[in-house]
Symmetry: C2
Subunit: 461 residues, 2 copies
């Protein structure tokens, strides 16, 4: 949770929406060097919209607008920005102003901004923070990247397990240092270990003399501080949680994770999957500089190039065959395309199912078996279609038979490899999405060309 | 929100975890026809875990377990199940038992289950429901699929805008018919139109005589009942919302959407994107029957087949050229692979950016321009690498030059088409992900083959 609400209430009655027209108006003002106008327009936005606006502007315009806003730059905008854009804005504002902004954020937002800074910048920022907040951030940084410890907010409402509803209400009314908004109160035992959660709507509805333990949720999900964020997201998703307590090695309550941070994690994990499946680096987004995008694409293009070279090498075995029967060169891409498509289909379903924890060791063999059967069925159908097509085109029934056989074999291989490879990678502790189209299409290309050209060489000539 | 918590508290102290060992134990019990054991094991699970277990089991085992659990089947399990599996379980339990289960659910969960039923089944279920719940469900069904109206829960806490904190607390203590858990109270004006939101943590912390309007959030996001769920998810994500009021055409508050439902929407939308990019139907998942999976894959394979046939047709123009210089047939797949990879990379980034509302009309040209520049840069680098490789392999510098030129052109086309096509589709009101690899690789295949073979024909021979 950010301080959105308090700032919203105190600060402005901002209700402007970030429409296309609005963006045009800002661009116009910036192009005409009317910075005062651009500034007042930008300040009429909610900080989340302002962040979106900064992301949407071209570099030059963004720079001008940040400069115009510098004197009263809302710290919350920083937390909402995409990483690539944030890096640029941080550089522009200068580290000492950024340090001041970070000091005003809640710990989870502050940590998110600080963890992306360079070592030098981190040092400057940490030194500028109040001592207790600095300790929180430093502790946060000590947890592994992408762990619960990095996600959690340190401000927690925890009360002794023997308290009554009335005690909790009095405590909340009298304590000034509570989080801005919160959803659950955690009951802790004398060792500060969480034993139950009480949604505050239940506190609200209960009489003052009822023990909190009578209205608490008993089977709560407790998150260890070093749990991977993907696991944490799974818990939230599966149990429809709004917040969850985080504990350290000795089971002491050290923080709370709220669902709004989990929504970001889910988006992040989705992005990872989709980017890896598409053969793109995660850091490659709309806001990356041309040179960074080029580099990120380059690596995967190179991997695909190696895969294609292997396929070319396989074809070169059959140069004489192709010279004798050029129809083979014409039909080759069809065999490769069918195998490649089928393998990517299977891979996509498998990677998605692994990410959603639907595909586990207990149904792995069943899944691979199903994909092979689907490969056989579609293989036979497409063998008939493509075989008839080749026969008709080149008037050669044997050629139709050979390409049909190649299609069946290739679709079976695609179903097997497309499901087995991600499962295997997952078991070996890798991200299953790195199996990626490069490796799979390489397999189906090689198998397809080898079977099609090999059978042609021995059966047709 | 489901009734999880109340059931959890009253019903059991279930704390068993769904581990691999647990699944093995259940499978063993079912294989040995020890249904009593299987039943008691299954009942020790939280209902969300039980749903996961049912999804994970093979058909036969699942049927046995559902049969064993029939007499006390937890309605919440039904709401948590994957659609494909739920359909089977519903068929097995029989519609009259399902109707009873649905009557026990909250409206949003009930609607989710009912909307997937056949027309006949719907009728039976609706007739079995208490009259007011039936009216809610029927109204819910009247909203468009995937709209806010389908997502919302009808049980809302709404109070007059002039109330004080103490009034709200008394109201909540005295009203039995409130939602199980809730996070925000909505302030409404005399026409029942929402004017503000008060997070209940703020009610809790404020003195009884403070007006609610002093502690409310002013710029709230109000969701029209016919807003698309993707738009709703964007609002939640952008503003870190926990719940949002839903209004009808005349701005009257009719329901509330909570973030746990939005998490499901985000997963669903992501699934749509990743499946479309992978050329797989959305209904194609791990639990689909072989025949359904086969059908879903078939369509896309057929589309790819047409694309590949067009490519084959282009190659056939140059049959004589290939006969004279078989190296062309060997190198062809490399040109196609590079173009295909680059276009899928660009497509992936563009589709993701459109889904996250980062790529809009205001930066569309800039994005396409950037992708073309990236295509030129990587095109030149790979032209040199691949040109040198072809020259070295076949000892023909002109062949190296021709393939290099084909690579540059193909990567530029890939960058342009990979970004422009999804933007165009989006503008025309289609899902940009249907641009899909089929169309793009078809474009890059045709361009690649045509340029490479055409240049070869005119320059090399």
């Amino acid at each position: 949770m950010t301080e959105e609400t308090v700032i919203g209430v105190q600060n402005s009655g901002a209700t402007t929406e970030l429409t296309s027209d609005f963006i045009s108006a800002i661009n116009l003002a910036l192009d005409q060097n009317d910075t005062a106008d651009a500034k007042s327009l930008a300040q009429s936005l909610h900080y989340a919209d302002l962040a979106d606006l900064l992301e949407n502007l071209a570099h030059v315009q963004r720079k001008e607008l940040v400069e115009a806003l510098r004197s009263d730059f809302d710290p919350n905008v920083l937390a909402e920005l995409d990483e690539t854009v944030r890096e640029r804005v941080v550089d522009q504002l200068g580290i000492s102003q950024v340090a001041e902004a970070i000091a005003e954020m809640e710990t989870d937002d502050a940590l998110e901004v600080v963890e992306e800074l360079d070592a030098d910048e981190k040092k400057v920022v940490l030194e500028a923070l109040p001592v207790d907040e600095r300790a929180f951030i430093e502790e946060g940084l000590s947890y592994p990247e992408d762990s619960a410890g990095r996600l959690m907010q340190r401000e927690v409402v925890a009360v002794p397990m023997h308290w009554k509803v009335g005690d909790a209400i009095d405590y909340m009314r009298d304590t000034v240092d509570l989080p801005i908004d919160f959803f659950d109160i955690f009951l802790v035992d004398p060792t500060h270990s969480p034993v139950g959660t009480v949604p505050i709507s239940r506190v609200m509805r209960s009489q003052r003399d009822i023990p909190l333990s009578d209205v608490m949720r008993k089977h709560i999900k407790i998150v260890p501080v070093d749990m991977d964020q993907e696991e944490v997201a799974f818990l939230f998703r599966q149990r429809d949680l709004i917040s969850a307590p985080v504990v350290d090695d000795s089971d002491r309550l050290v923080g709370v994770i709220t669902v709004d941070d989990i929504v970001d994690v889910i988006d992040e994990e989705h992005e990872e999957d989709i980017m890896r499946l598409g053969g793109v680096g995660e850091e490659d987004d709309l806001y990356s500089a041309v040179i960074d995008t080029m580099k990120s694409r380059f690596t995967w293009l190179l991997i695909h190039l190696f895969a294609a070279m292997i396929a070319a090498y396989v074809i070169s075995f059959f140069a004489d065959t192709i010279e004798e029967m050029v129809a083979l060169a014409i039909l080759m891409p069809i065999v490769a395309a069918m195998g490649g498509t089928a393998s990517v289909q299977t891979l996509t379903v498998a990677v998605r199912a692994i990410a959603m924890k639907e595909l586990t060791m207990s149904n792995a063999y069943r899944t691979i078996g199903k994909e092979v059967v689907v490969g056989i069925l579609n293989g036979v159908i497409f063998a008939v279609i493509i075989g008839a097509f080749a026969w008709g085109w080149f008037g050669n029934p044997a050629l139709g038979g050979v390409i049909g056989l190649a299609i069946v074999i290739n679709l079976i291989v695609a179903g097997f490899a497309g499901s087995a490879l991600p499962i295997l990678l997952q078991r070996m502790g890798f991200d299953p999405a790195v199996a990626s189209s490069a490796f799979l299409t390489s397999i189906t290309d090689v198998v397809g060309f080898y079977v099609f050209l090999g059978l042609s060489a021995s059966l047709l000539l």
